[in-house]
């Protein structure tokens, strides 16, 4: 379908593709690490966007899927010796399944109640995992260094994690585009605009929301596994940081919710800003405050985010900025 090759899709894909290739060619460890963090947030923000941007449901505690999926995947690869690919996939599947189950209950709530419920779920999950012996309780799990030999040593293992994350990010962007331009996606947008009117028009809102929630949870589960694998350990404090959820939310808002390019632009801008603030002697201790200020200005004055604003102002560019 000629629809599928629209610029709105291949611009973000090409960007990530080229950046990733550059990292692989240059073979620099620091570049790989910063790109890893960046891609991680692009993935998290894009996944969140599939829920938030398309259905309008705000998940504040979305990081819980990163945490639980990541824990599961990490447990499977470190304690059970599963290969990384399968463990990561399993983490994603667990997150998706959990989201589906939770969604059946929690997606009945609207607006702020839903947001609060997701925060509650994240905190409950963190507290639970801190007590859950198979997952190492409060100390968490760590991987035996020899496990990396399976992949040819620590160095190649880190590169493998990077490549997998790179591929997953491309898949997430593609999924985001396909959902938006499908019949299913049209139903989601209708739900976002007016859920009751959408149902009267025949959109099966409860099912559509649950499926979307599961999709938006699947990828963070995989990303979590890759992240913890790279770090070599996982503990409750790292896995369920509400702050990461909110940062992903900020990136989606900054870049433009409901667009494919938006989360990408938002992640790059936010990470760039953060990096600058952390290394600048003037702003080092104030980076959180400055980030907060940016968020406030966006929410108050440009709620459509960067991409949304440009699309509104320059309708000719709509084709290129999806």
């Amino acid at each position: 379908m000629k629809n599928r090759l629209r610029p709105g899709l291949w611009i973000p894909l090409a960007f990530v593709l080229i950046w990733g290739l550059a990292v692989l060619v240059l073979r620099q460890d620091t570049l790989r690490e910063t790109t890893f963090t960046l891609l991680m947030f692009v993935g998290l923000a894009s996944s969140l966007n599939i829920l938030l941007g398309y259905t309008g449901y705000v998940s504040f505690g979305h990081i819980v899927f990163f945490g639980l999926g990541g824990y599961t995947g990490f447990y499977l690869l470190s304690q059970q010796g599963w290969p990384l690919y399968i463990a990561a996939l399993a983490g994603g599947v667990l997150s998706a399944g959990l989201a589906w189950l939770l969604g059946l209950a929690v997606l009945r709530l609207r607006g702020a109640y839903f947001a609060l419920a997701t925060i509650g779920i994240n905190e409950a999950a963190r507290a639970f995992v801190s007590n859950f012996a198979p997952f190492g309780g409060a100390t968490g799990l760590f991987v035996n260094f020899s496990a990396y030999d399976h992949y040819g040593g620590a160095g190649p293992a880190l590169w493998l994690a990077f490549i997998l994350l790179w591929i997953i990010t491309l898949i997430i962007l593609l999924t985001s585009f396909l959902v938006k331009h499908s019949r299913f996606g049209l139903g989601l947008l209708a739900i976002r605009e007016d859920e009751d009117a959408a149902m009267v028009m025949g959109v099966k809102a409860p099912q559509a929301k649950t499926i979307t929630f599961a999709i938006s949870a699947f990828f963070p589960g995989i990303i979590g596994t890759l992240y913890f694998f790279k770090n070599g350990n996982v503990e409750p404090g790292d896995a369920f940081q509400l702050h990461m959820s909110i940062e992903a939310l900020v990136m989606v808002m900054l870049g433009g919710q409901g667009t494919v390019l938006g989360p990408l632009v938002g992640a790059i801008t936010y990470q760039g800003l953060r990096g600058y603030l952390l290394t600048s002697p003037l702003f080092k201790s104030l980076h959180l405050a400055v980030a907060g200020l940016f968020l406030l200005l966006i929410v108050l004055f440009v709620p459509a985010g960067a991409v949304g604003w440009v699309r509104g102002r320059f309708s000719g560019l709509r084709r290129f900025l999806e």
Binding site: S182, R183, D194, V200, M201, G202, V203, K204
Partner: protein, 247 residues
């Protein structure tokens, strides 16, 4: 008989909204539903639509008992609704609005087919030139047309119109009535709530009257207009009673 409504009763806390409402609607007819404000007309629509389940009674559509089904199931079976207080999907374009109706209504069209149908329907209601505008930017009369277009996009067997003429000036009313007649001519059955008396009396085959949740009269427009109970129900507004008398 496309719609059979039997003994529909609905209570909200202490308020008896509908009491044993019973009527039939043959296929291809336009049935007017009138009654004073607060009579329960919109509540009846909400029951037919699946937004509320009735406390008692049954709704049978094309031979199937649809009582208590959720609104999206009712929509899938071919009942579409245009709301009194318009509810456009504001950030979507006019065309996308109609496409939602087409994609999720009776026939579950694909995106490409839905776009074609949207084009036809928008031409029918006179909004074709505004297809790419965001729905939120239309004025009230245009939004009402969009409501209608969205409902039509689903190719329904039965169309529920809730005061589509409210807020329109006389020439807009005439245009809308023509459109309604065209819709009926293409085979869609219509049940319409209206306050604009001349309009509903002119365009309906039959009329039913609700007052305080009860069906108090049923029949041809002329009969209903001369029915003493109906006149008494409206006596609060002598102008309407007079207009009814004049037919």
């Amino acid at each position: 008989m496309i719609l059979e409504v039997r003994d529909i009763t609905k209570k909200f806390g202490g308020l008896q909204a509908l009491t044993e409402v019973t009527f039939d609607l043959p296929q291809g007819q336009i049935l007017g539903l009138i009654g004073p404000n607060g009579a329960g007309k919109t509540t009846l629509f909400n029951v037919l639509n699946g937004i509320y389940a009735p406390d008692a009674g049954r709704v049978i559509f094309r031979g199937e008992d649809i009582t208590g089904l959720p609104s999206y199931e009712v929509a899938r079976r071919g009942i579409a609704r245009a709301y009194q207080v318009v509810r456009p999907l504001s950030d979507l374009t006019v065309q996308e609005n109609v496409m939602v109706g087409a994609c999720f209504g009776r026939e579950c069209f694909s995106l490409t087919d839905a776009a074609k149908i949207a084009g036809e329907v928008l031409a029918q209601v006179g909004l074709a030139d505004r297809a790419q505008q965001p729905a939120g930017s239309l004025n009230v009369a245009q939004k009402k047309r969009l409501e209608l277009a969205r409902a039509l996009g689903a190719r329904p067997y039965l169309l529920l119109l809730d005061e589509v003429l409210a807020g329109l000036n006389p020439s807009e009313i005439t245009a809308m009535l023509d459109t309604i007649r065209q819709i009926r001519d293409r085979g869609t059955t219509i049940l319409m709530i209206e306050h604009v008396m001349q309009a509903v009396m002119n365009v309906s085959h039959r009329v039913i009257v609700l007052d305080y949740g009860r069906l108090i009269a049923e029949g041809l427009p002329q009969e209903v207009a001369n029915n003493p109970e109906v006149i008494e129900a409206y006596l609060g507004d002598p102008k309407i009673a007079e207009r009814l008398m004049r037919g």
